[in-house]
Symmetry: D2
């Protein structure tokens, strides 16, 4: 039985390519559409408006198609009231739960549009006495009141917000490429970071071990010391390699100066991990004078939080690492408050993990030498991502140079003279 | 204070390139060497023998250098007796613990060479009343007796073993390349798998979600049904995409037949996860008739074990997934018994994780379209790995064709006719 | 001074994404637009129609913007008559020459729409007594009559044609990915090739040396023998490696059977080249019994033409190779007549070169293990390209299996038994 | 019939890995070996010496194997006198011609070791009245006296020379990786370039169009102006994109400042080419005031030579481009005199072409974001290559900063203020 609903969307539908994606979505779900009205923005800066009748085979299919279209900013013309159902088991949503987007979201209850706290994609909407918030499936509890179906829910498309901000910085994922004026992009990101800091918001970093391997740890340390790293999300590997380098000089010391590090030193990393486990924590290792250099040391000294979440390939792990990834996700969520900018460097795993929990309204930059990482992030729904395919080492060197006064001088002083090695 | 020890190694030192690597290791650790004796194998099949005096600055540096050289198969000429120390805390080794390789290892205690159970790299050696076995740092307990220093430990280099096996299959990581006669490699792997099964050993598979995305799930299902998949290690993603495809036809059904799947269907995967959580487990979903197709269904039906270990980017996860990665590692180790061949397909995370715990004596093949995955695996120490850079979909199609009698017929029958799509 | 023109376009403007691209083009050229009319196709299969007023700063800017928009299928509402000017030097167009697209093109002269012979991008339009044809800048001669400006020229967008063909095969460059059901794509391409052959049209192959390196030469030979290769465009490398393999067995013989070829045999290739130079040509080498196997041998035996065009990295080259690349382009153009399908395998250089001269109306498939090759081809304007990121060896093996009756049997017979090698 | 010869080699045979490669070469050619003597260097800095009896099936096989081994620096113990034969046709060597390496080479004639002028790989050795020089097969003429067979030819392995130079810069191709301290590598290359210039030698650059696309043209212009670019090898694309950017501001102007260039502007490049063709040459365009900015402009102004060699994918081409690739190779060879350092940036085609003709004694650096380019160069025999996998834009920015006094100031002044763009 074919059922249908009428939806609408307003914004830069054509030049953003969103209208195209909407129609492709409908086809992919096996649905059909009739464009009932399309008021095209006549001039370049005018918004367009579209009203479309969407049909699908059965209520369930239609409901799921409508939820999918909401990720594009498409809303029901007559949303009606939201319906809720009680979760019957811990960790399980009702079958027809509303699956969230990462866009600002409103729920119509009691004739009122109630804004949803902390938008996050692929969650359910939990209704409590005083508010509505997203809840991941692992955290839902028996008896929780969960929004079901597509009715009574409205999202605010991102493009509209962005223009309101009059930000000088455009985020276009289509720009993923290594053939771009990278030096300029670095300057733009530095500017963006300064602006975010000026408003009192936090800068969230997500990093992989290549930060250490590419010799960029000193640049990163300077960025921490200058106050441009408010919180770090990473895994066991970044912290371990950083600490190993600080303890055994395998990467930051003389060897790096020669351009030939002992990167895969068989037992250094497990020995470094053992030493920190003995100290009880990374902060403990700093306090006991075991750890005296590197990124983790700088974060501890600056009193900046970090969340390290483990993975199945970890050795050890370090005592600070969340072995339970779901608990790790909770710890990451707890640090998102106040974040105004996210920068993800050289890690697909933790970048996607962070992308999963970030609201779409927080601008993010993903930097990797591997184009696939950047593309994957965007495919997963972090449409606000700006991707930069570049070398991590040179990127952080340039970023530190842009942001940290007298950076180059510091870096120079700490480097041994070139030419004395053989 | 410069201290030194004399080490020796026997084998195909030159043509394997091992001797070169040994000397580079010594340099990287800042040590020095004097080649005391070098008896080169005169003809192509003769072994060589080298005795080298290794020196380093201080006992600790030397001890660590000697441990590193053991990963190459280099042993002390006069190993002496192993020394042990008691662990003083749970989860912490003594400072100078012996860090293991993944080679067959012997420990000299009481004048006897005692073989180590289950060799695994980056572990400690735990001495109990009746045996010596590897223990990861997270599992060591206060009071455990742990081997310390490099004395009294001997490893058996891999090359020697391999020749003894007279295996027709050579593993050379240097062969990582996409410019190889891939069709022939598939045939060789099929032959190797048949031989392993003929000896009653198990074939371990490690897989990523691209198995589903490349349309190779039907081939994989046939391989399970034909008995060529004894155990599967994977993450939440492979199982989720497989189950999502089985439940919503997003990948395996009509859409895949058209060559245009709904791969990134926003809410399908979280809804599939919710349904399996409701059923309690994947096996539960099969029993309740909710899950009727796909790889996970085939494994459940065939009674084959799988270990799914979570990661920080997981949604859900599925109820079978280990959220605690350290527990996940333990579950993986528990399934290694009897494994005679490992094949890793399209996953860097789980391939490296498995490489970490596999003894070097188990041959392994790593298949990925991305050369970096294959290279990374070898860099991490899984020197026995054979890498194949190729397309996952076509690889599994060909492998199923080689191994499963009448495979192509089955595949054909399940495909809709070409030409009817729009 | 702002000048403007009104343009129009009809077709699947939204779901194809073309309308979005048009507006982005206008912005990139610094122009502006007013959408005067937009009749959106109400249902999924209806065409849309747009009329847009385009403005730019000055006649020259506007004229160039209009030419660019024609690559999207956008035409002037009131095209007027075409203007022509005489070329004043050999090899130089008049300043404001009309720069062509690769779409079917009509020129209005004497009140009539005259179709342009052999559409090719980045050329000029040469008007002679009896026809209008494209001419590359290197071939224009003093006194030639060349169309100038954007007036009086109309293109026929591709999408309209395609639907008219009722082809069962959709070409979507957005499908570039390695995460696709590759086995199915191979089957679709085989079907397409059969259909093209059934209509009496030719199949053009463009190939790189990886065809030989991946061990796919036997599959390619069978495809030639079965009549599925009507013409081959390649460089010195493919032919040299193929001939070297045939002469010295470095790739196809015993070594390939072992999976370890002598691929970079230092002097084989230059010696093979010398032998063919001595024979005068590849055909000469076949006639003299010097060349008895391989792809080039098969083409000579089958009487199929090939065009080999040199590059600056060539050794030799072979006597059949065009050292002058402009003459090589002319030779390639001369072989395009009757081509109904183009398949490009493992070569960025020759794929882009062929894409440059192919009319947009000829469907083309680009197969490479490197996504960048496929993307580059599309970026250059070959919008009709379907990209497949896969392994060349397995792709050709599967394609031969689909197209050549009893293929697998042939391949099997020629392979030595597995297991006898060491 | 098995024939054999005794060969020898001296140097760092083990730690360089050369000895391993020699034995693998012998196997790959189906030969056999007996190590007659092996004097291993006892301490880290001692050289080793090996004498090996090599056997193969037949004189021709053995002769070819011996030539291949010479690329490793292996020479006959009893070289005897060189044999020569006359070329019987233009462009064809005698069948058993000696195929050259790119190492310094000596030929024994009349009881004397005569050094070969301009070593180049894959050539023949032409003996004239007063000297012996390499000649490519395309340039040999009927009646030329050509060295045949492997006797009487000796090469000087590179490693020996290098140590003699006491250069502070080590070239290790095994270092190809993106996980390296890139900032340090840039500093080392800058130092090397300064040293080469200080000795009065030339710096050769080989570049691809990504130099322009990554926004690095201003850095490159400063490097030209500061005298660090003595000669440039490139193709039509680099020059065209550079000139197009200078003429139409598509890359260097306002758009680049916004980070969103009109890179694929349909007709800009062909129009730029037409304009330069009209001017007769790039230098002509500079003189006529048509071309006033960019890399090519800077080279013309500085009076530095460039060699542009065409390829089959070229549009136009520019009037300075060699359409005949063999003539282009000759023009490149003619510019090698006095070159002391080669740096190859972002072009596989022209890098390999230059690698083909460069003597091994000239150090070279290959910089590309694509690891395959760097690897390919080394595989082709340019064993002296140092590969750097990094971002082109940031690399050239940093290199200019290191080499050009007050560079950053210049760059800053020419950049529009950040933040004013929309």
């Amino acid at each position: 039985m074919i059922v249908s609903e009428t939806v609408e969307i307003r914004g830069h539908l054509i030049d953003s390519g969103i209208f195209t994606k909407i129609l492709l979505d409908v086809r992919e779900y096996g649905g059909d559409f009739v464009i009932e009205r399309f008021d095209v923005g006549k001039e370049a800066h005018d918004e367009s408006y579209a009203r479309i009748s969407i049909s699908a085979d059965g209520t369930e299919s239609l409901s799921r198609l409508l939820m999918t279209l909401q990720t594009r900013g498409v809303n029901l013309v007559e949303p009606g009231e939201a319906e809720t159902r009680l979760a019957e088991q811990d960790g399980v949503f009702p079958d027809d739960f509303y699956s969230t987007t990462n866009l600002p979201t409103l729920v119509r209850m009691g004739g009122q549009w109630v804004p949803v706290d902390n938008p996050e994609m692929d969650c359910g909407l939990l209704v409590t006495a005083d508010r509505i918030r997203t809840v991941p499936v692992s955290d839902v509890r028996h008896g929780d009141q969960i929004v079901c179906g597509a009715r009574g829910v409205k999202v605010v498309p991102l493009q509209t917000q962005r223009r309101r901000d009059e930000s000088g910085f455009e985020f276009m994922i289509s720009e993923v490429s290594s053939e771009k004026p990278q030096a300029l992009l670095v300057r733009q990101i530095a500017q963006q970071i300064r602006e975010v800091k000026a408003t009192g918001q936090k800068v969230l970093w997500v990093g992989g071990p290549a930060i250490v391997h590419t010799g960029a740890a000193p640049a990163m340390v300077e960025l921490v010391n200058a106050g441009y790293v408010d919180v770090l999300f990473a895994g066991n590997a970044l912290a371990t390699h950083d600490i190993e380098a600080a303890m055994y000089g395998t990467s930051l010391g003389v060897d790096l100066a020669r351009g030939s590090g002992v990167e895969h030193g068989h037992e250094h990393h497990i020995r470094a991990i053992n030493a920190v486990r003995k100290a009880g924590s990374i902060a403990g290792a700093v306090q006991q004078g075991i750890l005296t250099d590197g990124i983790m040391h700088a974060l501890v000294q600056a009193g900046k939080p970090f969340v390290l979440v483990g993975s199945v390939r970890d050795d050890g792990p370090l005592p600070d690492v969340y072995a339970d990834v779901i608990e790790g996700q909770r710890a990451m969520r707890a640090e998102l408050s106040g974040v105004g900018f996210a920068i993800m460097v050289a890690t697909m795993l933790h970048s996607v993990a962070t992308g999963n929990i970030l609201p779409a309204s927080i601008p993010l930059v993903c930097v990797d030498i591997n184009q696939a990482t950047v593309t994957k992030l965007a495919d997963r729904g972090s449409a606000q991502a700006q991707g930069i395919v570049t070398d991590i080492g040179l990127f952080l060197e340039q970023l530190a140079f842009e942001l940290v006064p007298d950076y180059r001088g510091l870096a120079r002083r700490r480097q041994p003279k070139v030419g004395h090695h053989r």
